[in-house]
Symmetry: D2
Amino acid sequence: MTEAGKTWAHHEVGKKLSNWGRWGDDDEIGTLNLVTPEKVAAAALLARTGKRIDLGMAFDKNGPQDGGFRINPVHTMTWTPLDTAGLPDGMISADDMIVMGLQCATQWDSLAHVGYDGYFYNGVPSTAVRPGIGATKNSFATANDHLISRGVLLDIPRLKGVDVLPDSYEITSADLNEAEAAQGVTVQPGDVLCLRTGWYKYFLDGDKSKFGSGPEAGPGLEALEWFRDRDIAALAMDNWAFERYPTVVEGSVIPVHQVAIRDIGLTIGEMFNFEDLAVDCAQDGVYEYLFTGTGLKISYSVGSPVTPIAIK
Amino acid sequence: MTEAGKTWAHHEVGKKLSNWGRWGDDDEIGTLNLVTPEKVAAAALLARTGKRIDLGMAFDKNGPQDGGFRINPVHTMTWTPLDTAGLPDGMISADDMIVMGLQCATQWDSLAHVGYDGYFYNGVPSTAVRPGIGATKNSFATANDHLISRGVLLDIPRLKGVDVLPDSYEITSADLNEAEAAQGVTVQPGDVLCLRTGWYKYFLDGDKSKFGSGPEAGPGLEALEWFRDRDIAALAMDNWAFERYPTVVEGSVIPVHQVAIRDIGLTIGEMFNFEDLAVDCAQDGVYEYLFTGTGLKISYSVGSPVTPIAIK
Amino acid sequence: MTEAGKTWAHHEVGKKLSNWGRWGDDDEIGTLNLVTPEKVAAAALLARTGKRIDLGMAFDKNGPQDGGFRINPVHTMTWTPLDTAGLPDGMISADDMIVMGLQCATQWDSLAHVGYDGYFYNGVPSTAVRPGIGATKNSFATANDHLISRGVLLDIPRLKGVDVLPDSYEITSADLNEAEAAQGVTVQPGDVLCLRTGWYKYFLDGDKSKFGSGPEAGPGLEALEWFRDRDIAALAMDNWAFERYPTVVEGSVIPVHQVAIRDIGLTIGEMFNFEDLAVDCAQDGVYEYLFTGTGLKISYSVGSPVTPIAIK
Amino acid sequence: MTEAGKTWAHHEVGKKLSNWGRWGDDDEIGTLNLVTPEKVAAAALLARTGKRIDLGMAFDKNGPQDGGFRINPVHTMTWTPLDTAGLPDGMISADDMIVMGLQCATQWDSLAHVGYDGYFYNGVPSTAVRPGIGATKNSFATANDHLISRGVLLDIPRLKGVDVLPDSYEITSADLNEAEAAQGVTVQPGDVLCLRTGWYKYFLDGDKSKFGSGPEAGPGLEALEWFRDRDIAALAMDNWAFERYPTVVEGSVIPVHQVAIRDIGLTIGEMFNFEDLAVDCAQDGVYEYLFTGTGLKISYSVGSPVTPIAIK
């Protein structure tokens, strides 16, 4: 519970933007409900040339984790051609396995990932995340098949004429409106908004002081109303922290996560690679595409690794 | 190496159907090259109503593995709301991780999964699968973004008027042709063929004597030529063994795997759930759809878990 | 919490046998306190010939787990000689890793493993086991170095003239006294009591219907007072269930665990292999030995895998 | 294979010190054969007061690994009291699991860990380490029960009057002889030699630039003859690199490992904590003790985590 008698700015924002009950009391997927069949069919038409652009980070030991709280994927071979020597017909085969944090690289947070005051999205009590089972409500397994929709890239560093936004830069609704105007695209209900900060460059450069710790650019509380007004289905970022970090809400660490996930019911993505996409969009001037970002239907999960694809 | 002086029927078939060199000497994805941008764009148009049908098995401890060679997914919580008690703003959060065989449930085999006589697809030597690294060639990471195409379901048990094909039933090219005719659909180059045996029913029934061991229905060597002639991009099955099991090729265990993956360069899928899809297709008479079946871009992997979706 | 108004037989026993506070309010290791330095020094003298007898189950995929709640150890190579080819001085090397349930094979339960009514041993509240951290009190890490002491085998099937005790046989204090008399040995304070049921034979036979499920022989509530009176430091069993299973305490599953661990503060071991030891003791008539059974000092763990050794 | 025509200093040393065949052609444990039953019985007498001194590093995420090649232990709860709410008799329980590199913290290297020119100890070919199985010869599982013997600490920094030896300091046979003289102890056949460099201090200080990378003090090729002459059973070090690092043998990385493990058949240990032991020995002047350092009997393993104990 929050400190007695204290009013938190983000909780006030949360109350105002709440989607609780909007899709029924049993709803577990929030704004992904906006990805209706009609939305999917319309999004599919955006695959005009069929060009695929990969938005995912490779899953391997060179990921951004430092070996503490979350681990980078550990991929091991459980069988190799060396193990099949001597089969009569010369058969060779290989098998492998993985150990990974579900939040270790490009990933979605489910609506059981973050909340406050004892509740997750739609009044799900904190105890619904059971230590020995996982998220018995708001699991990513329920949400997974809704992550195909229209994708729209808003490229804020391009708008600002920089490669990467400044440290701790807060992306505002004004920025979002200006980017729409500059790019000639409009964010619509049910879209998966891909919001570029340029931060992925630091990952590509191997700079762990910038990607994985330290100040980052991202949306603040102010932009949440814009996301809610536009009724986006999901928001994917190309940084580690998702939101502007550190926050200006004193005593809080990730207030934007809290309101986005718990109150708005917004599925959020982190560590997406928008570098190739940004170049492509700048070249053809088309900032919309068919976005396929389904992950894995892992029962009771609070998130999922994903290798998303933009198809133009 | 194979036994000296012995001629193997499947190796002969492999020679005849080989795609080695067809897409260049450095090609690592085989028939997935047939999923051209044009193919993707055309496939997208099949998402007519935007209806989504999930083709994946849930990833959890109730999977089909028996705890020996491959393990079912082990999903554990690494952080829960219980661990965040006392944060000033009442924040709660949860994180999780997974340990899983990449071939444990619904999955794709990469072109480094099976071969014979010291080689994988396109002349990649067996030593390219390095025990400590994985598949340095023919990895699934290279193939992943091509697994979006036109999907076509051929429902063989429906053709035969049964719920599930008989044990060890071999699906033939005649069956495939008849199913096309009966269903009014034609398999085309670049398609992801979804071939139903009905076997998934045994998994749903929890019958491990039928799903995971014992005789299974599937294609034999004879059908491989049909797959090659039609130039399908990938073949997904709803059983465990993929191919008719046990095989009639004495001294061999999985000869169809060998030829399909190594010689044709065909990406194959196992343990797909076609039950809902089959009902839907029977109802509307439409056996084609936009198939999205990208998995995870795991570096050097010889396969990937996947939660595929059919969109009609 | 227990059902209101109901009195449970094992809770009454627990109250009577409680060791809470005996070694101070902050004590986390219970009866292991009885393994004093003097006890260790005296135990060492039992290593008369230096003969080693291995009491552990091999840690591998052929363990007793069935792939559900707990998994058998998954051991994979992360590096092999194949990966070092080409080093100038011809160096080859290999590395490996493991994934395992800490309770999957021969193991100790720490005093944070089982309790009731919201408390573990010595008044540690259930919340001291934090989902994201583990046992912040009563961890095995604290207990580990005390698991070297005098070991005594009581061979109950031998006493009864059978290979294996009958299903659900309850080992009583009378049995324990008779075994002492028959074997010419006396259990003393601080001993690690190794209590044989013969059940390990079923594991060696690969009979999972007998080892891992189904009725088992073991101590019941009645024997707990004997263990408490004799002040044993730890109790190791050669079966899966530890206690007589199923219990006669209706509505309870493992009441002996509860009282032993929570009230007496007794460290208990499961799935020990006493087969070789039993043969050896029958031959030389010596049922006491230096017991070394330290496991791994895993921070915050509620148990540990162990490969114990008896030295005579 | 080594470079043609080149003579390597360490291979020459290896030839001279070789123990191949000494304990038979099928021997898999090398110098651990020197831990005879008589040796164990004599060692047990060194447990004079029964005082235990823990020599192990805690297994947890704060270990020395950096998340690349080897991972620190990942310990997760698979069941907690939160998951047992509602059982009639109020039972609570907890279970846990671990993922760990077997070489991640305090550990033994088996005789299948390092070799050269295609062979491990006693002529075992490199192919005996099978990627999908592990060490089919020279596994740690075979060696484990021999790791109880007389332990002797030689405290080289104390001899030199420093806290920690200088970077890349090479411990010589002269140092070993002088330490024996100064400490009044003699290393004997079958001993587990615990050789202190003081390096563990850097781990305790959290200085990863000194522990886990960078130059380290340790024995060089010269000292190997001393180890062989004294017929020690095992050699445990308190640093990361085991040997003096970097080596002066150009073109080689870990030549001392190679000769010790492959030619001498010496089981070696790394990352032991000798800090408390060193203080204790300095206080009572007794540098010998009962050493118990059995790890886990993991089938086909090339090493084992261990929490060793010195008992004086």
